[in-house]
Symmetry: C2
């Protein structure tokens, strides 16, 4: 099949498929006589694998590592699990950061009247007047 169909079936855009190939994340695709890339079911499965890894927040580099582990029949599941746990820890760290931001903002916004007057604890906080607690 051509790249458009592979894209549709995998959920990875044609643009990205070419890009992944350029990065070396995918092997160079087979070509037809007309120089069009040619894909089969296994290629689509690989693309779906990458797509799913991206959906779970893994970077392309990490997706590449997972892919090579997937292909390695003699792999130890310990390596996969370690990678997953590191990624979970990273997600948790970023979640905590963002929660802290959101909570701070919620506190400031709730103290802000939000009317036509200029007084605003949000701007006051940004300007350096830290809240009184």
């Amino acid at each position: 099949m051509r790249i458009g169909e592979a894209a549709e079936r995998s959920g990875v855009s044609a643009k990205m498929i070419r890009h992944y190939e350029g990065l070396g994340l995918l092997p160079r695709a087979a070509r037809r006589d007309n120089n069009y890339r040619d894909y089969d079911e296994r290629d689509v499965a690989v693309l779906q694998f990458i797509r799913r890894a991206r959906d779970l927040g893994f970077s392309l580099d990490e997706a590449g590592v997972l892919l090579s582990l997937w292909r390695d029949r003699g792999r130890s599941s310990a390596k996969v699990k370690r990678l997953a746990e590191q990624h979970i820890a990273d997600l948790d760290r970023r979640i905590a950061e963002m929660r802290s931001m959101a909570d701070t903002l919620r506190g400031l916004a709730s103290a802000c009247r939000g009317d036509q007057r200029p007084e605003c604890p949000i701007l006051a906080d940004l300007a350096g007047a830290r809240a009184k607690h």
Copy 2:
């Protein structure tokens, strides 16, 4: 003061101060005879304002809007509050996304033995075999 001191006092790197000026987020800095940029306390306060906005997750564009509202004495706090609430909603959406990723991964990782054997539900999931629930 020179850019190095302004950077240290504001917590914004010299590199970024120049960049913000290039973006038009900051007015062009005053220059000394030797062409060095020259900053005063008010400049540092503006930089701190931007820094704080960034710390709360606002984009540079949003920081620019907040900055102009801060400078506008006749502003209505409603505009500030609306911007903050949109940002909170955006943070909450991203947090929910990441929590969903982390929770899925936690489920898969807990089902993975993590030993020297190749069986691994994490890879099985990525490969398209969706979990049984």
